[in-house]
């Protein structure tokens, strides 16, 4: 027991890998056994994740469950992992969504074993990334997460899967090349890859000093590295205009693949901003915060318009992800601005900032951003799942062909409306607290951007209502008569999500408080 308690984080990271191996060794022909085992395994991992959620000591909001072992001493990298109030909710989201994703893919018939193996490996990469506190380890999980997703799209995707998977892989990998080069420069300049140590040493480097390996001043190198980091994570989030891979990848991915992509993988980008970009480059983040807010606003507005223009149900939901992640970006921009003021070279007096109310604003906006990441994970996964449910029955996602589904599938209709409303931001459901706190926190600092983003909020309502209207309402089309009702398994996937959505809408504090402690600690 002691062993488990001391190594709980490492165990949670690598357990899915061990399980993947077991699944891989199961006999090929017994598909049901493979599915059930994979589901059972992911439930066990979820148990560990939830155990960490309760073991986490909220009175000390710093990094916990930390572990550090030498990994590659020749270049000064160590296996360093740990969780704080920002990464813990993300891990929780991952371990909750994975079993649901596996349950949702019980109807996969081809190469089940490989599918489940890849799914579990993806879970490992995501948990590992959220827990990583060493740049090398972070980068390993970052790159490694691409592989299972690539194959999920490539092998089990839709008609254009070859194009979509290739675009997804090369786009993200190209983005991470700059990241790799910058990590190397940072390692050479400071002699460490440890993230908490880099917070100190890398930030403290004198801007006028010259880094001998490139004969450039630290200031210049920091700008170049900042841009490389920014691009890598902006592609992943994705922030407008780096989002073009996302609709293709989502539309072509299998249902559970889309759930994980929207639910977890997009969060990796936003998490990268919070964990690396802003704390490592406070000056640069401060100076570009308004640009970031502007791009976030554009993501919200243009994502909303683009979603409204879609007639493919899945593509509509995909664009809605860009719209919702735009709010996260807006919250991150506020964090960047205030954190930069506090810890960057201007080094504003903390008391003065406090008096202006900026710190309170930033704490609120950052809380909102993390909360919104969690919320969007739930509602996007739910929406993609529901699109998958109707697609499995009707074999089309064309909104023009649907109509009157509500009277044919009344339960499905109710669930779809519930989930859509959560995604729309109806007060009482989970979308609302996140978006509200973000806009409330950002208002005082980025007034113009927030005001403009309200156009996007309007569009959110429009496209959600369009989707509901085109599918559920209208005259009953005879071709859809006799669509089978949702199965028990499908209910098992969606109900946990709906319960979580409702709980976060009614009482967001259960999650918010954990986030809040850490964010308040970060922002002094």
């Amino acid at each position: 027991m002691d062993f488990i308690q001391q190594n709980i984080l490492t165990i949670t990271i690598f357990l899915p890998l061990a399980f993947a191996l077991i699944v891989f060794l199961l006999p090929d022909d017994d598909k049901m056994l493979i599915r059930r085992m994979a589901f059972l395994f992911s439930i066990i991992v979820m148990g560990f994740g939830i155990a960490m959620w309760f073991l986490y000591d909220r009175s000390n909001a710093g990094i916990q469950f930390a572990q550090r072992v030498d990994w590659f001493p020749a270049i000064g990298s160590s296996y360093h992992v740990g969780l704080d109030g920002i990464s813990l909710p993300m891990v929780l989201l991952t371990v909750i969504l994975t079993p649901l994703g596996i349950l949702a893919s019980f109807d996969i018939e081809e190469r089940v074993k490989m599918y489940m193996t890849l799914f579990l490996i993806m879970e490992m990469a995501s948990i590992g990334l959220f827990a990583a506190l060493d740049m090398m380890i972070f980068f390993i999980f970052w790159e490694f997460g691409l592989v299972p997703m690539y194959f999920l799209i490539r092998l089990w995707g839709g008609k254009d899967r070859v194009y979509a998977s290739f675009k997804f892989f090369i786009y993200t990998m190209a983005g991470s090349l700059g990241l790799l080069l910058s990590i190397q420069i940072m390692g050479l300049a400071t002699g460490t890859f440890d993230i908490p140590e880099l917070y100190q040493r890398w930030v403290a480097l004198d801007s006028a000093a010259v880094i001998p390996v490139v004969n450039l001043s630290v200031g210049t190198v920091k700008w170049v590295a900042f841009i490389a980091f920014f691009l890598a994570f902006a592609i992943k989030v994705p922030i407008w205009p780096f989002h073009t891979w996302l609709p293709d990848a989502h539309t072509q991915a299998p249902t559970a693949g889309s759930m994980m992509l929207a639910g977890v993988l997009l969060k990796l980008g936003a998490y990268g901003f919070l964990r690396l970009v802003i704390p490592l480059f406070p000056d640069q983040a401060y100076l570009s915060a308004s640009v970031l807010a502007f791009l976030g606003m554009l993501s919200i507005v243009l994502g909303g318009f683009a979603a409204y223009g879609q007639w493919d149900f899945k593509r509509l939901v995909a664009y809605s992800s860009i719209n919702h992640m735009g709010f996260v970006v807006l919250g991150i921009a506020v964090f960047a601005w205030v954190y930069g003021l506090q810890y960057g070279s201007p080094n504003y007096d903390a008391a003065a900032l406090e008096q202006l109310g900026y710190v309170t604003d930033a704490v609120m906006a950052t809380n909102g951003a993390v909360l919104q990441m969690f919320n969007h994970g739930l509602s996007a996964a739910g929406m993609f799942f529901l699109v998958g449910v109707i697609y499995d029955r009707a074999h089309t996602r064309d909104l023009k062909r649907f109509g009157g589904i509500w009277s044919i599938l009344p339960v499905y209709g109710g669930i779809l409306i519930f989930t859509s409303m959560a995604s729309l931001g109806l007060p009482g459901l989970n979308g609302f607290p996140g978006e509200f706190t973000i806009t409330r926190g950002a208002w005082g600092i980025f007034t113009v951007q927030v005001a403009l983003s309200m156009i996007g909020l309007l569009m959110t309502g429009a496209y959600v209502l369009k989707a509901i209207g085109e599918t559920l309402h209208g005259p009953i089309k005879p071709e859809w008569r006799g669509l089978p009702a949702m199965t028990f398994r499908e209910h098992c996937v969606i109900w946990p999500l709906m319960i979580l959505m409702l709980s976060l809408g009614l009482w967001p504090q259960w999650l918010q408080s954990t986030i809040d402690y850490t964010v308040s600690l970060l922002l002094g």
């Binding site: 001493p73 090369i170 080069l181 190397q184």
Partner: protein, 546 residues
């Protein structure tokens, strides 16, 4: 510890070859058992030595002669300084282990050879013995001797068992390239041999013993003059641009097991010998030429990857990807610092295992489908899932995916090249100053990764995951259990190194440390100090004088 481990590792394949040739013709299939026995013996012994060496690594700063272990010395032609001296340091022992693994894989993969199995296995054993010999030789003459021993069976095996359409051409091209290369290296080597007693007073007269060579300080002009022929002569075998041309042809024409040894180990032989005889003996010459050589390796990395992208024949694609990856090995040397050398050492092992596995995969497919063309093969995942998974893992290693051995190797190389930019050198070849362009080398060569990802993904997608043609492939036989074992062996090693770089990084570091120290000392001669450093050095000198 007086048991002659290294001799047994090196000579047991030769003994096996002799016994195999003595077998009566009808009992050809016994040849493979003998071959297997010799390979397993080699693998067990070299693993034992590897673990033993790892348990007790030499401290940093130990001179090279003292890092050598399991040394055996027998006078041979002592009057002219030729002796049978074997010994290994961290790097060569790692490469011996690599050879043993790849050799075993080669025997297992050619289990089904039907055409003259006796001769096949005898030559294969000779090839392995030659490769082992170069890595364990401490005597320069012995090193050349084994080097040639390795080349001869290559030629014969390609000509007899190779791919019918290209084999004569490819075998001749390969042999000529390597032999001419080794003569180009041999001539300066002999010239230096006669100068050695003057520059290293501790040497007992004329000697080929590399331990004395490694402490010699030849004068600057000699070093500059002879470094390039030695390095390029051996470098040709490592596929250094512009002398890489033989290698893809050779790979393609060779039978599977020979391709594995060839790409997996033989190319490392070139890089290893270039380091041992070139860089270690002539460090000042190395510093003089390296800023130029790194440009050649940059061409290797990027241009090799671009050509690989053009190929439709899987074996040619892997052949060119080897050129690209071996470029990284030499690039690590050219970084002239510890990170670069460690990366090169690990890259040799990683690339050796990866390419050997690639060729094994292609061989398994080719034996059953009788084609290697990416246009014809598709949907192989359905019929050959083991091969597909192995190929995907190899592909991920090749594109430097973190968590696998390729990343562990490439990351230090790139770091080394970055750090190489700290060197502010003057009076090097063509006046190239690392400070002004090494970071461009790092940035441009990273592009090689993207190109690699593109061609590997394309190959995987079209060969293994394309549409399955039931009609064409329904009677394709599954692979054998030993084939599966071979693939698993390679995959486990590749993943193991990637997840736990500590199993290999420290021992390689111990191996390359003495070379790097010599190189760093030689670097100072060329370094341009800026004014502040000048004044500081002046004050220190004055204080020291006072």
């Amino acid at each position: 510890m007086n048991f002659p481990f290294l001799s047994v590792i090196t000579l047991s394949p030769i003994a096996a070859a002799i016994v195999i040739m003595l077998l009566p013709k009808e009992r050809g299939e016994n040849a493979r058992m003998l071959g297997l026995a010799a390979m397993i013996l080699g693998l067990v012994l070299s693993t034992a030595l590897y673990i033993d060496y790892n348990m007790n690594l030499p401290a940093p700063g130990t001179p090279w002669a003292d890092t050598l272990r399991y040394v055996e010395e027998i006078p041979w032609v002592a009057s002219i300084g030729i002796n049978y001296i074997l010994g290994v340091d961290g790097l060569s022992l790692t490469l011996v282990l690599l050879t043993a693994i790849v050799g075993l894989g080669g025997v297992l993969i050619s289990w089904g050879v039907e055409d003259r199995p006796r001769e096949f296995y005898a030559f294969f054993m000779l090839l392995v013995a030659g490769v082992h010999g170069v890595f364990v030789a401490v005597d320069g003459f012995l090193l050349f001797f084994f080097y040639e021993v390795a080349v001869l069976p290559m030629y014969v095996m390609i000509v007899i068992w190779g791919w019918k359409e290209r084999r004569e051409y490819a075998a001749m091209k390969l042999t000529l390239y390597i032999l001419i290369g080794s003569f180009i290296a041999l001539i300066p080597f002999l010239i230096l041999y006669f100068q050695l007693p003057q520059v290293n007073p501790s040497a007992p007269g004329l000697t080929f013993d590399l331990r004395y060579w490694a402490e010699a300080n030849f004068d600057a002009a000699t070093q500059r003059l002879w470094f390039l022929p030695i390095f390029v002569g051996f470098g040709a075998l490592a596929g250094m641009f512009p002398f890489h041309n033989w290698s893809p042809d050779g790979h393609v024409a060779a039978p599977t097991a020979v391709s594995m040894i060839h790409a997996g180990v033989l190319m490392k032989l070139g890089a290893y010998a270039a380091m041992r005889v070139g860089i270690q003996v002539l460090p000042e010459g190395a510093v003089y030429w390296m800023p130029f050589i790194i440009l050649l390796t940059l061409v290797n990395v990027v241009y090799g990857a671009l050509i690989a992208m053009r190929q439709r024949d899987m074996k040619y694609m892997i052949g060119y990807s080897s050129v690209s990856h071996m470029g990284l090995v030499v690039m690590g040397f050219a970084a002239m610092n510890l990170e670069g050398f460690i990366g090169s050492g690990i890259q040799m092992v990683s690339h050796g295992l990866m390419t050997a596995m690639f060729f094994a995969c292609v061989g398994m497919i080719y034996d059953r489908a009788h084609t290697r063309s990416m246009d014809e093969l598709s949907g192989m995942m359905k019929v050959q899932p083991w091969v597909a998974v192995a190929f995907v893992i190899g592909g991920l290693v090749s594109m430097g995916m973190p968590g696998l051995s390729g990343f562990v190797a490439e990351f230090p190389i790139f770091m080394g090249v970055w750090r190489g930019g700290e060197m502010n050198l003057a009076n090097t070849a063509f006046g190239l100053n690392p400070a002004s362009f090494y970071y461009w080398v790092a940035i441009i060569s990273v592009l090689g990764i993207i190109i690699t990802a593109a061609y590997i993904l394309r190959a995987i997608a079209s060969v293994f995951f394309g549409d399955y043609d039931e009609h064409a492939w329904h009677d394709m036989k599954p692979i054998l259990a030993i084939d599966k074992f071979t693939l698993v062996m390679f995959c486990v090693t590749l993943i193991g190194i990637g997840m736990f770089p500590r199993v290999i990084a420290p021992i390689v570091e111990a191996g390359v440390q003495p070379v790097v120290e010599r190189l760093v000392a030689a670097r100072d001669i060329y370094t341009v100090w800026n004014d502040v450093q000048h004044i500081g050095a002046g004050i220190l000198a004055w204080l020291g004088g006072a």
